[in-house]
Amino acid sequence: MKKSVFLGTLTVAGIAAGVAGAATLDDVKARGTLNCGVTTGLVGFAAPNANGEWEGFDVAVCRAVAAAVLGDASAVEFVPTTGKTRFTALASGEIDMLARNTTWTFSRDVDLKFEFTGINYYDGQGFMIPRELGVSSALELAGATVCIQTGTTTELNLADFFRSNNMEYEPVPIETNAEAQQQYLAGACDVYTTDASGLAATRATFEDPGAHVILPEIISKEPLGPLVRHGDNDWGDIVRWTLNALIAAEEYGITSANIGELTAGTDNPEINRILGTEGNLGEMLGLDAEWAVRAISANGNYGEIFAKNIGESTPIGLARGLNAQWTDGGLLYSPPFR
């Protein structure tokens, strides 16, 4: 009883805070910086480099939004969050948007009162296991000890998967990916499970990557995307269409290299509308006509961002897979700019 009263108070306070900060766009413009929640560090997705500048796949989304809204891709205040603090940081208004490889789920969208503005990475949960154990399918994992990050959807997926297949397992709860790597290598668990992208990134750092296999089963859908608070749809639209602009830019061949030429005007009306030389899409968003030009120039289009941070030429070496354009057999499909 007492607990529910306390939580109720929190919720009311949270809603009050949400309402009071409704016009996020105005707040961001007045502040001059975008407060963007990121992870405290995940290889390829967000981490500060030796000079202290944040870089990564999620970071690029923050920078694109900052470029679209404020005209400066570096006007971002990165607020590092852990799996446990990320949602309170967003709900309390400490951050304007969260780009922290967060899985879009029903309860997060509906019950926690957030709004996912799209999907920037289609992921799925997989298993990694030492090759010498000779396991070739996740269905042979009965009785295994499994390293699992707490407070994530992967924990719940794992329980669901083992229960539905009538298998026992022993979870080894861990806090961060770094800890998981060490535990797994030290043999504290037979299997490490997290998003397949994370597994690939982790395996790439091993001294002998070939000694570990990623099992073929993908046991969950993990659509990762940026999210904002409920109740400010204008701001949600800006984040959503900035992401869409990056995806559409790849589809129409707009790159950071040729964007200067293309803004002079092209024969493709869709490109012209994205780049603001035709129509008034920017005005509808409450921004100027050049918003998408700046967003794309910041780090390039979706494909360039992918290739630079997590693509096959990087140590992480992820293939595009599901994250290819729909024209190439992937799932990336931006609604039309019209």
């Binding site: 306070a13 446990k84 603090t85």
Partner: protein
């Protein structure tokens, strides 16, 4: 007579024997080993096992340390240089040295400021820690140091720390003016006067603060690395000591309201894990504060850790107070000393002396507990290692080198504190055991 004597003795030595060396088994290394390592069968076996264990450890650690790579751009480069041999990749320490010490957001041309503050810390601590060896003039510097250090590390206008200092001075003046009439008048008058000074001073600072300052301002969220551990550790230990004494005395007070406030505070704080308090500081407070208010995160964390440590120190000091014979209290009363005098001159010096090991224990534990702030996404030394450095594509996978380095840093500080406390105990030893 002499005949019989001569006949009764077969042989008489007529010259002194030269001094012979003691038998080999009773001297030098052999004797030492016999006595300390192989005094009986069990000890002999244990010695051999220990030697074997040490040998294994050295053989495992030695090549790793000696082959260590100190200059490489990434872990994969390290492995390439090593070509499969055993060796540590210490290059991560050299490349991320500044990040480990200062966090990744402190402006790199300003590193001299926290470094200077750190060096001055010793100068400021010396008059308190070694009162017999350092002239008392040094205490003035100690009093100024907190404001100086704040100004050095955070930068910005110098007026802010000056106003903070003025508040304390005004408070002290008011206290010394009124304390002769009544302690309460002096105490509460001082608090009111100090807050009035801060309030008025704060408004003046806001008005006249120049746009550009000598030292550029650095925000709290940009603090990190071992610097953050040192800030939290030093500030919280030095604040929690006076608070802990006050709480311990309050708990023994005969005034019920004060007594119960102290009891409830101590028992509540001790009953709650530190990590919970940190989560409250970081997450829950954000719900209650109106959006847009920025109540400095480091300040919130300092308040929480200080509260936590005060409660523990209060209990340690209460133990010291309880250990004093009742006669000491009665002796103080019979001399006609009032409460404050008897505490200051008779009771506390003895009680604190007894409490030193306990206080140091809390201080060392507290210093190590400052690494818990990494859980609320602050980038202290452990936070830097667990977050940014291990998540960079270059250094993902370097664990032993980084965490070993963190362990060494913490060991140096904690061992230093421990050695100082033992020295202090010897200094204060007045009994005849």
């Amino acid at each position: 007579m002499s005949d019989t004597h001569q006949n009764s003795i077969v042989y008489v030595r007529e010259t002194m024997l030269p001094e012979a060396p003691p038998p080999a088994t009773e001297t030098g290394i052999v004797k030492w080993m016999r006595e300390n390592l192989f005094s009986n069968v069990t000890n002999g076996i244990l010695t051999l096992v220990s030697i074997w264990a040490i040998y294994q450890l050295v053989m495992a650690m030695g090549p790793w340390l000696m082959n260590g790579i100190w200059d490489a751009p990434s872990l994969s480069a390290c492995r390439e240089i090593l070509q499969g041999e055993v060796g540590g990749c210490f290059a991560v320490l050299t490349e991320r040295w500044n990040q480990l010490l200062f966090g990744f957001q402190y402006p790199d041309d300003q590193y001299w400021r926290p470094t200077l503050a750190f060096v001055l810390l010793f100068a400021a601590a010396a008059p308190i820690m070694f009162p017999k060896h350092v002239p008392t003039v040094g205490l003035y510097f100690t009093a100024v140091y907190p404001f100086l250090a704040y100004w050095l590390i955070w930068g910005g206008t110098i007026l802010a720390p000056l106003v903070a200092m003025a508040g304390f001075i005004v408070g002290y003046l008011v206290y010394s003016r009124f304390v002769a009439q009544s302690f309460a008048a002096g105490f509460f008058g001082a608090i009111v006067a100090a807050f009035a000074t801060w309030w008025i001073g704060g408004m003046i600072v806001d008005l006249v603060a120049p746009e550009t300052t000598v030292l550029s301002a650095v925000e709290s969220r940009n603090m990190g690395g071992f610097m953050l551990n040192m800030i939290l550790g030093t500030v919280c230990v030095s604040l929690s000591l006076p608070f802990g004494i006050a709480l311990a005395l309050g708990r023994q007070s005969s005034m019920p309201i004060i007594k119960w406030i102290c009891v409830v505070f101590i028992e509540f704080i001790r009953g709650v894990p530190l990590i919970t308090l940190l989560f409250v500081a970081n997450v829950v407070l954000a719900y209650f504060l109106p959006p847009g208010t920025t109540f400095d995160l480091i300040l919130r964390v300092i308040i929480m850790i200080t509260m936590f440590a005060s409660a523990y120190i209060a209990e340690v000091i209460r133990g010291g107070l309880a250990a004093l014979p009742r006669g000491q209290y009665e002796a103080a009363d019979s001399l006609g000393l009032d409460y404050a005098q008897s505490m200051r001159l008779i009771i506390l010096p003895q009680a604190l002396k007894i409490s030193i090991p306990g206080i140091v224990n809390v201080a060392v534990g507290l210093f190590k507990d400052t690494t818990l702030v990494s859980v609320i996404s602050m980038f202290d030394l452990v936070g830097m290692i667990r977050g940014p450095i291990l998540a960079s594509t270059e250094w993902n996978g370097v664990y032993w080198e980084l965490l070993g380095f963190a362990a060494v840093l913490f060991f140096v500080v904690c061992y230093g504190i421990s050695q100082y406390s033992q020295w202090l105990e010897r200094q204060l030893q007045t009994d005849h055991r």
